[in-house]
Symmetry: C2
Subunit: 354 residues, 2 copies
Amino acid sequence: MERPKVVLDTQGGDRGPAEVIGGGLLALEEFDIDLVLAGDRALIEREIQPTLKERVRHPRKVRRLHPEVLHAPEVVTMEDAPAEAVRRKRESSLVRGIEALKRGEADAFVSPANTGAVMAAALLRLGRIRGIDRPGIAAILPTVQGRNVLVIDVGANVDCSPENLKQFAVMGSVYAHEILGVEEPRVGLLNIGSERRKGNELALKTFFVLEDLPHFAGNVEAHQILQGEVDVVVCDGFVGNVLLKSYEGGASATVELLKKAIEKDWLARLGAFILIPALKNFKRSLSAARYGGAPLLGVRGVVIIAHGNSDAEAIKNAVRVAVESVRHDLVGKIERGIARYLPIAPSKAKEVTA
Amino acid sequence: MERPKVVLDTQGGDRGPAEVIGGGLLALEEFDIDLVLAGDRALIEREIQPTLKERVRHPRKVRRLHPEVLHAPEVVTMEDAPAEAVRRKRESSLVRGIEALKRGEADAFVSPANTGAVMAAALLRLGRIRGIDRPGIAAILPTVQGRNVLVIDVGANVDCSPENLKQFAVMGSVYAHEILGVEEPRVGLLNIGSERRKGNELALKTFFVLEDLPHFAGNVEAHQILQGEVDVVVCDGFVGNVLLKSYEGGASATVELLKKAIEKDWLARLGAFILIPALKNFKRSLSAARYGGAPLLGVRGVVIIAHGNSDAEAIKNAVRVAVESVRHDLVGKIERGIARYLPIAPSKAKEVTA
């Protein structure tokens, strides 16, 4: 297979383009990829010069380490209304980057910009995979068992139908199988009880709809997910987003309390040298679900959404997620998965463009 | 004020009546209350005999420490359909206990039974406070700042209207003011972003409706709540239940990872002697929100729902919550709060009886 070519949107992140570019260079160094930096050419050239000079001692590396630049002077901000921004800001790194993907000039697109705008650009320019009414954002969480669990949707669709959740289930299963390496992913429906008659209207209806999927493991409750009870969790984007932020909040609060306990005691302070890094790692991997690059599943191309506040390390990880998706032909596999498990044309749902 | 009289439903808990009775006796010993144990008389008498004998050396205490018994041979189980159980099982400790409250023979009712059945019994027998369409279950969570935060609803109403959430906001504020001692409780709407145009349909509409309440602090995200950003959080019961279980899950996973890190390192093991209890305390108080007794706000009486899996300590804490609510005339204060902030008759919502 050829080297995957990844377009990185350098604009729209909370920390500014330099941080994103730095992440891109880290990725270029670590992974066997071609990199395209989309954004203001002058700014990008200025940022990458020092890094390139530093590497002049290893001339064979330099060519590969020199990213391409896709000039795009406009910026989509967090304040922009998504669909409007995509229509109006045609010179933005977001629109130009997605269009490069559409034309087949690149294999994946990574962006830390306004999630709604990335979604809108992907929907309007790339379109959806046949059989998918709405794409969903997947988050990969760590579990205490060491394996990962995928949660979909974590914010793309705040109001969903049972059919949407069924499509998420199939896409999530394909991802878990292909990228996370789970032989037969167990799919759980996020709910507030284990019995099938539990839940709100959406959950009650979705249980019924999910039953004809293989490996449907029934309801799963929020306190069971990090225990690794299932491999894929489906829910609407509002609840999924609350779930993600709650885990992070619960883990952060625990670590903060730990620090307070440490301040009070010298013996504890000793142990802390060892414990704090372990906990921080876990907190970090929980946070990474939010910060490190979440695949947007269901559009016709590999699109990875990095959190707006991503640092260079988080951007690098988002690029890694992109590379893995390309190498496993994720889009093709999802197309085949949908054709297999959702053979009947699903009901048409409203488009999400706002 | 007279000594509050609390009816404790000894049946329907996962751990059996002996554990619940044990919790009642702990409460009787610690708080200045009269206790009524509702359940099977023979079983209750058998359970309390050893405790009473042990205390015979302090004869002055014995009279007060002897709980009354309210004989009720029927049991409402976790499998019972709530409304039907209330109608059919008239001899149950749940129905008899609630009826004692209704007749003014007791001041509060505490039960670890089937949450839906407790709700149904309270709704059908006690009725709602004027102006309240649906009662909500409140959970009291710890924050890293030390103060508490109240979340309502955490499971009573899985599908809500904006008006329901507004009523929760008023009831939660009254509770936070009266019981948690917050001068002017700040109320947050659980949402997935801070901007007012964020969220699902319910959140968007509710923001608008909450704006005419004093101390409305806008949207609050799940990772901010344990940081103590607000005093009261309103949400529908499905999302609230997910939130609660996620915090617990996040904290539990962190503690488990800590234990694993400790096993690998002797220095860490030293520190752990100090750290683990601190963390367990926090985890416990997070769990207590679920296990220790959650007030059902909006019905015409003090009703406290203990988790089905409560141990004796958790039952004691649930009785404590009951006693505080009685001492502060919580029901009267909520009635006045509703009359003040929701003067217009709210829209009628569907009854929750299922």
